[in-house]
């Protein structure tokens, strides 16, 4: 059978950043994938060397807007460890709460987007409506809907008052009810089953070998979660379960994310109950300089393990910062996940690792044998995907 190459990207209208994939297909089946990354390369690591820790905190937050707190918190944790800076108990609790609220927002966002990919738009609208509740809570805590800027060296910027805690509890009750509904929906609804089961399979051995992280690897049944394996913040005391699923496919990744949302709600409740009533949330005097040192900090961001390496030299600017984001770790497994998929399943399989880019805007099909080229937009690809599934009676 002839081999065709489908380049996907780099423009993409709906979500996320520009990225490019060359998908090599034989007939309907994907046989290989070559990602080409770097369209959003801005040079943040270098820029951090020229900015103070305080300025840098706002820059790292903007590595990715969806995991903004994860980035900032990891950066601060690295700097604190390198310089031996103490963080108060209460600040740790607040950091954990914000991190988990962010996880809920990100997982719900993903669930909605996944609904869109499989042509389940009602789910998309429902989830995004409920997600506004988390956004409101985050805004109430930090003052901004997306980039929270909560962390400073040695603490957090804002406190959670008892009234605010009550408000958060109320919001969580609503979210829990809704998430339980989505859980039921994901486990029972046949649209989701049929479009995600046995699609984008990643077996645990390959996944571990290729260094997959986060929900991607947990859906393959591997118990890997930094919150349990190498606890940071308050995760060593918090009472929650490590969610895994052993179907190894896209369905597993959906379920893991929904179940994790429920665990996150549990963690936040636990934090609110155990948070010290009194205590400082930040050091008395703003810390500007970090003593000389080196640190490596890990954080379980929504998409998986996030790693920061930081070397300080006693001034108010870091000497070197290295960032390894979860999508970077997952991109190798993405090739494995897509292999063997039908073209129609590429959008959802691609989305299943929750990539921080992904872009199926413009799809050009090149038939190498006939030397023919044609272009599809993401909408057309989606339409094709739906028609194909109807034809094959896979709904």
């Amino acid at each position: 059978m002839s081999r065709n190459i489908i380049p996907i990207g780099p423009q993409h209208p709906a979500l996320h950043e520009p990225e490019h994939f060359q998908i090599i297909v034989e007939g309907e089946t994907v046989v290989d994938v070559k990602p080409r990354i770097g369209y959003v390369h801005r040079g943040i690591e270098k820029a951090l060397e020229n900015r103070t820790y305080i300025q840098g905190a706002f820059l790292v937050e903007r590595v990715c807007g969806i995991c903004s707190n994860a980035h900032q918190c990891t950066f601060m944790m690295a700097a604190e460890e390198a310089g031996g800076i103490e963080v108060s108990e209460k600040a740790q609790f607040i950091r954990t709460i914000v991190a988990e609220l962010e996880r809920i927002h990100s997982h719900l966002l993903w669930l909605g987007a996944a609904g869109l990919e499989i042509g389940f738009e009602t789910l998309f609208m429902y989830v995004w409506r409920d997600r506004e509740v988390v956004m409101d809570l985050l805004e109430a805590i930090s003052g901004n809907r997306v980039n929270y800027a909560m962390n400073i060296l040695g603490g957090v910027r804002r406190d959670i008052s008892p009234e605010l805690a009550d408000k958060i509890r109320k919001g969580l009750d609503y979210l829990e009810e809704r998430t339980n509904y989505y859980k039921k929906l994901c486990l029972e609804e046949s649209t989701i089953h049929k479009r995600t089961e046995d699609i984008g399979v990643l077996d645990p051995v390959t996944g571990v070998k290729l260094g997959a992280v986060g929900p991607t690897i947990r859906a393959s049944g591997v118990k890997f979660d930094v919150r349990k394996n190498d606890p940071h913040l308050k995760y060593d005391e918090a009472d929650f379960e490590l969610i895994t699923w052993d179907t190894c496919d896209t369905f597993g990744r959906v379920v893991v994310r929904v179940l994790e949302t429920i665990e996150s709600i549990k963690i936040i409740r636990w934090c609110l109950d155990h948070m010290p009533k009194k205590g400082d949330i930040m050091p008395e005097k703003l810390i500007r300089r970090v003593p000389e040192g080196e640190a490596y900090s890990r954080f379980e961001a929504q998409r998986g393990e996030l790693v920061y390496y930081l070397k300080s030299n006693g001034t108010d600017k870091p000497y070197r910062v290295k960032i390894r984001t979860p999508t970077m770790a997952n991109i190798l497994s993405l090739a494995e996940i897509l292999k063997g998929c039908y073209i129609a399943d590429v959008p959802i399989a691609l989305a299943s690792i929750d990539p921080c880019f992904s872009c199926e805007d413009r799809v050009t099909f090149v038939d190498i044998e006939k030397g023919k080229t044609w272009t599809w937009t993401r909408e057309e690809l989606r339409k094709y995907s739906r028609e194909f599934n109807e034809r094959e009676k896979r709904w």
């Binding site: 780099p10 209208p13 950043e17 369209y39 959003v40 801005r42 809907r145 997306v146």
Partner: protein, 144 residues
């Protein structure tokens, strides 16, 4: 004004189709643009629909600074949008380069590559601010 041009103008104001494009920003603006289209803020009531292809779009909604890698591709995309086209720069870094100013990978704001009609500042701007930008854009269409 002839009947036909009045009709076209009416149609343009009642249903501006947008193409949303990230040229290297941090995603936060993108999710806010999307949130603006979702049930709570719902700009779809103005007839705004998110399109997948530049050839279908009237308005280009851009987020993020222009990275060096994206610039040529972005120009190409802009050229594909049929006339008359409008550009809305959402977010500080689309307006000026914002927080990324000075990074070696970026060129600056959107206006270093293409002309911009509406600037919506904020990092990220709240959906309310984006809606305000949309309303201003619609007013601009009115006076076309």
């Amino acid at each position: 004004m002839g009947l036909l041009s009045r009709l076209i103008k009416w149609a343009r104001i009642k249903s501006p189709w947008i193409l949303h494009l990230n040229t290297g920003g941090c995603n936060a603006c993108d999710i806010e643009v999307l949130a603006t289209l979702m049930p709570r803020f719902d700009v779809e009531r103005f007839g705004i629909i998110l399109m997948g292809s530049p050839r279908h779009a009237d308005v280009l909604v851009c987020t993020g600074p222009i990275t060096k890698q994206m610039k040529p591709r972005f120009r190409k995309l802009y050229e594909q949008v049929p006339d008359p086209k409008f550009v809305m720069a959402v977010g500080n870094c689309a307006c000026t380069g914002g927080v990324f100013k000075g990074c070696y990978g970026i060129e600056g704001g959107i206006d270093t590559a293409i002309p911009v009609d509406i600037y919506v500042p904020g990092c990220p701007p709240k959906p309310e601010a984006i809606i305000d930008g949309v309303a201003k854009l619609l007013a601009k269409l009115q006076n076309l």
